[in-house]
């Protein structure tokens, strides 16, 4: 005979349909989203990993000042056991967009075609898909480069540019203003050589080298080139952000959503356990009778676990189906919205199944089993007597002589303390997510605004060679790049400025500084937790020469990690002639022949990080926001419902006694409102601290620095959302209270 208690399950489900439906939907969607993330992530990571072989991605590249000679190339290939490929490119601009143009690639760093085809004749060009999306360009559109019109024949992804980094030292890629492109060799040769870069990629002939051996070999190649040529850039493949940024990011997203899933499941499991315990309390005498009649503890534990486990399991299965169908594409779209990835194929991931089905089910099982076993350990007699407190002679908590209502509410809070603790934890967790969803855009906007507000001038020219000009307001400066070595290989690039002592663009007083004293940008102090008087050691990028400076003060310059010194000191330190300068700061565009200009930095160049993050992460912020509010509301709703149900008898009694609706609200709804309010008061600063902590940990691994500071209005907004969401729940609670009949108490005369 099947256990007849099972017949309760469908009825329990019917009676509490709303509650179980909400839990079910939330679990299904959470698991679906996570499963989608894992499936899309795993599929894309696999495609990404396979792309190294499929598209023959380079083992590194370097840029020389001049074309390498055949003899030198042969020598390099023979000595280092590598094959060198020409990967020359030319950069052309159309408006604010920079096109880095390559010849069609065949031997190395292959091209994945998303739409259209590779150019076949002069006048045709294929551009990066992600850039095309941002710039609203389609196949068939025309672009003008170096005064010649090109028709876009294909939207592609270059396998060595899954993230569109202009330079490996950039803090962020720039898919909005920068693209890679391929044209036919004839078309390439026709483009002006003004911005030609002699870029060479290499592949190790021995394909079975270990990472350590590859690292040693790349060091040897660098030494060889430094000795025999003038090198302007050198990037081994493991250090290449354009190749690795997307892959690393996809991995980190997966870890993040997994943590999210497990926290949600744990909260849900506790909610289920609290629900079951509340049912057990309600059915205490029945349970006592059943136990007295011979039902074992095991049979009852199984009975009370069945429904949560069935809902969990069905939620996990449907969630996985959604993950493999709908959510996978949504997540893939998020990745494609950020990166220039090659075309991916979906792979079945046993890992995703285990992580989103088996582990959540096991978590749910273990937490419920633990809570229910603990609860059902009491003797049958205790259940019959409704004596479910573990501690004997439990005395009432002493409450000061507050007003009656305050004392009453305090008693309710103490009575339901375990539910309220879970509520506090849940609110804290959803607040962290909520803040993340709310704060990112303002942080980026604020960062952008700070950059703009603190830009020393409108234009910053870096010249290839000295060019004297007539403008009085243009101010000469010197610039160089040094780096600070870090353990993870991604060294931080520092911009070192040599400024006029009486600079009209920088309000820094260099007089009185000692020989090794310098100013740094405020981000340097923030990132490395340094202070005035500390020293920093920077080194030349491709040499071992080091410079140690003492920090005399900081200057607000958010766009990069920077060092400021007097231009004469600069010339001394970097062995430059007495009249040396690198370019001009100016508020007016200068009339300098383009061939002398290496770079012209404008506001757009400075705000690229904020713009790119907004572009690629905007949708993600929104998802977090919605998810956080949903989690918050669901949890507060379920727990407050349980608390009301637990007190339905008491509510019925106070109704009989003649309490009015608003008075009952002031007792029961207000008790939960107070806990929600306290939880929010704790959660808002806690979330700010946690996001700040995580931010520092994440940004610490990136080159550069983007400071986190939640604007106070966001914290207020967060609090208001919390209160507003609770008001809806409060209204639902009021409705529920009104429905509790007065005879409820009369029925339960025990």
């Amino acid at each position: 005979m099947k256990n007849p208690l099972r017949k309760r399950l469908p009825r329990e489900l019917k009676d509490e349909f709303g509650k179980y439906l909400v839990i079910f939907l939330f679990m299904t969607l959470t698991i679906g989203l996570v499963s989608g993330f894992l499936v899309a992530g795993k599929s894309m990571v696999k495609t990404y990993n396979d792309s190294f072989e499929e598209y023959n991605i380079e083992d590194g590249h370097f840029i020389l000042n001049d074309e390498i000679t055949g003899t030198l190339q042969n020598k390099l290939e023979d000595e280092e056991d590598i094959t060198v490929y020409s990967l020359f490119y030319k950069e052309e601009e159309e408006g604010e967009h920079t096109y880095r143009i390559y010849k069609n690639r065949e031997d190395i760093d292959g091209v994945s075609v998303h739409k259209g085809r590779i150019p076949e004749k002069d006048g045709e060009i294929a551009i990066d898909r992600k850039f095309a999306d941002s710039a609203d360009l389609k196949v068939g559109d025309k672009v003008t480069l170096d005064k010649k019109e090109y028709e876009i024949t294909g939207l592609v992804a270059l396998s060595d540019y899954s993230a569109l980094f202009r330079s490996n030292t950039d803090l962020m890629f720039d898919a909005q203003n920068f693209t890679v492109a391929v044209v036919t060799p004839e078309a390439f040769n026709r483009i002006s050589d003004n911005n030609l870069k002699y870029c060479y990629a290499w592949k190790y002939d021995n394909t079975s080298l270990t990472d350590k051996e590859k690292k040693d070999k790349s060091d040897d190649i660098k030494t060889f080139l430094a000795k025999n040529a003038v090198m302007t850039d050198f990037v081994p493949e493991p250090d290449n952000q354009a190749i690795h940024f997307a892959g690393d990011d996809m991995g980190s997203d997966t870890a993040m959503v997994m943590v999210l899933l497990y926290i949600v499941i744990i909260i849900m499991a506790f909610i289920f356990a609290v629900t079951s315990i509340s049912t057990i309390e309600k059915e205490s005498t029945v349970i006592g009778t059943l136990r007295a009649s011979g039902y074992t503890r095991k049979e009852l534990v199984i009975h009370y676990m069945e429904l949560p486990m069935i809902i969990m399991f069905i939620g996990a299965i449907i969630g996985n189906i959604l993950g493999y169908t709908i959510f996978k594409d949504i997540v893939a779209a998020i990745y494609y919205n950020s990166y220039s990835l090659t075309v991916y194929t979906t792979i079945w991931s046993p890992y995703a199944f285990v992580m989103t089905t088996i582990i959540p089910c096991v978590l749910m099982f273990v937490i419920n089993l633990f809570m229910l076993t603990k609860m059902l350990k009491l003797s049958p007699l205790k259940f019959i007597r409704r004596d479910l407190k573990k501690r004997k002679n439990r005395k009432a908590v002493k409450i000061p002589e507050w007003k009656f209502f305050t004392r009453f509410r305090t008693r309710i809070i103490f009575q339901n303390i375990s539910s309220y603790i879970i509520m506090l934890i849940g609110i804290a967790f959803s607040s962290i997510m909520l803040l993340f969803g709310l704060v990112m855009q303002p942080v980026l906007n604020d960062y952008k605004k700070t950059i703009i507000d603190n830009m020393p001038c409108k234009y910053q020219y870096i010249l290839k060679m000295p060019v004297e000009i007539k403008y009085n307001e243009a101010e000469k400066y010197a610039i160089t790049k040094l780096e600070m070595q870090r353990d993870n290989g991604l060294n931080d690039e520092f911009t070192v400025y040599g400024l006029n002592e009486d600079s009209q663009y920088f309000d820094i007083d260099f007089s009185g500084l000692k020989d090794n004293e310098i100013y740094v940008s405020d981000g340097v102090l923030d990132k490395y937790r340094l202070k005035k008087g500390d020293t920093i050691t920077l080194k030349e990028k491709y040499e071992d020469k080091e410079y140690t400076y003492k920090i005399a003060g900081s200057y607000v310059y958010p766009s990069s990690l920077a060092v400021f010194m007097d231009i004469d000191r600069f010339r001394d330190d970097f062995d430059k002639p007495d009249t040396y300068y690198s370019g001009y700061f100016t508020d007016n565009e200068l009339d300098i022949d383009e061939k002398y200009v290496a770079t012209k930095l404008t506001q757009n160049d400075m705000t690229i990080v904020a713009d790119q993050l907004t572009d690629s992460m905007g949708r993600m912020f929104y998802i977090w926001l919605v998810f956080a509010v949903a989690l918050y509301m669901l949890m507060v709703y379920l727990l407050s419902k349980i608390i009301l149900e637990k007190n339905s008898n008491a509510i019925s009694i106070v109704k009989i006694l003649g309490y009015k609706g608003n008075e009952i609200m002031r007792l029961y709804v207000a008790a939960t409102a107070i806990v929600v309010f306290i939880s929010l008061v704790i959660s808002v600063p806690l979330s700010d601290f946690t996001i700040g902590f995580l931010w520092r940990a994440i940004m610490g691994t990136y080159p550069g620095w983007l400071a986190y500071k939640a604007p106070s209005y966001v914290l207020v907004e967060m609090f208001v959302i919390g209160v507003a969401a609770y008001s809806i729940i409060g209204a639902l609670q009021y409705k529920k209270i009104r429905k509790i009949p007065m005879d409820e108490a009369l029925k339960n005369v025990e």
């Binding site: 007849p4 005498t285 009778t289 503890r297 019959i384």
Partner: protein, 232 residues
């Protein structure tokens, strides 16, 4: 003797609040007989019943049922013992609210390898036409009949009834007592009824009066009358 109760002692509370609720209680009941435990509130009758039922532990003494000592049994064995040999009826019915009458009785049937015929029992209990109703659709008497049905469907050796008529009116109480009597005759169960209603002693084979935790009086009832004739 089928049920032997030997020098049962029971205390509640600790320190100054320690209360000796059962004091060397010794008695016994023959198989298939109805025993009524009488006494005022606080006399210890429900505590004794709970100890006999194995849901409370004595602090001294023995309960021996058909030769098996309850004191020697561990929690699991006790649970198994209750499952096989005992049926419980409480004053407040304790039915499962979202199961029908029939299903509530099935909850008892599930515990037995050879339960009584469910349909026949529903008829015997006068619940046939109510079998698909939920407890909240029933009167108190119907609920108690369902509770009795749940207890006896597994045909237990001992049926323990704790104030089975405590929440019922006169007529319904008599109906329930008649039912208990009928069950005893039909299935031969040993029945122990705890009550503070003095009149019920007249339907018993054995009467035990408890007062302040001690047996004040016990006797075999030579003048047993049918439940139908009980008056109070």
């Amino acid at each position: 003797m089928f049920l032997e109760i030997e020098k049962i002692n029971k205390y509640y509370g600790e320190g100054e609040n320690r209360n000796h609720v059962l004091k060397d209680v010794t008695t016994g009941v023959e198989k298939g007989k109805i025993c009524v435990l009488l006494g005022p509130s606080g006399s210890g009758k429900s505590t004794l019943l709970n100890i006999i039922g194995g849901i409370d532990e004595a602090d001294g003494g023995n309960i021996i049922i058909d030769g098996a000592k309850l004191e020697d049994m561990k929690e699991k064995q006790l649970s198994l013992y209750r499952r096989k040999h005992l049926g419980y009826v409480f004053q407040m019915y304790n039915l499962i609210p979202n199961l029908t009458v029939k299903e509530n009785i099935e909850v008892g049937a599930y515990l037995s390898d050879s339960p009584l015929d469910l349909n026949e029992l529903l008829n015997t209990l006068g619940l046939w036409e109510h079998k698909d109703k939920l407890p909240n659709q029933l009167s108190g008497g119907q609920q108690q009949r369902t509770a009795i049905g749940r207890a006896i469907v597994k045909n237990p050796d001992i049926l323990i009834c704790d104030e089975p008529t405590g929440a019922l009116d006169y007529n319904t109480s008599k109906e329930i007592l008649q039912l208990i009597e009928k069950v005893n005759k039909q299935y031969g169960n040993t029945i122990i009824i705890v009550t503070h209603n003095d009149a019920i002693k007249n339907m018993a084979d054995k009467v035990v009066h408890l007062h302040d935790g001690r047996i004040r009086k016990e006797y075999d009832n030579e003048n047993k009358i049918p439940a139908e004739q009980l008056e109070w």
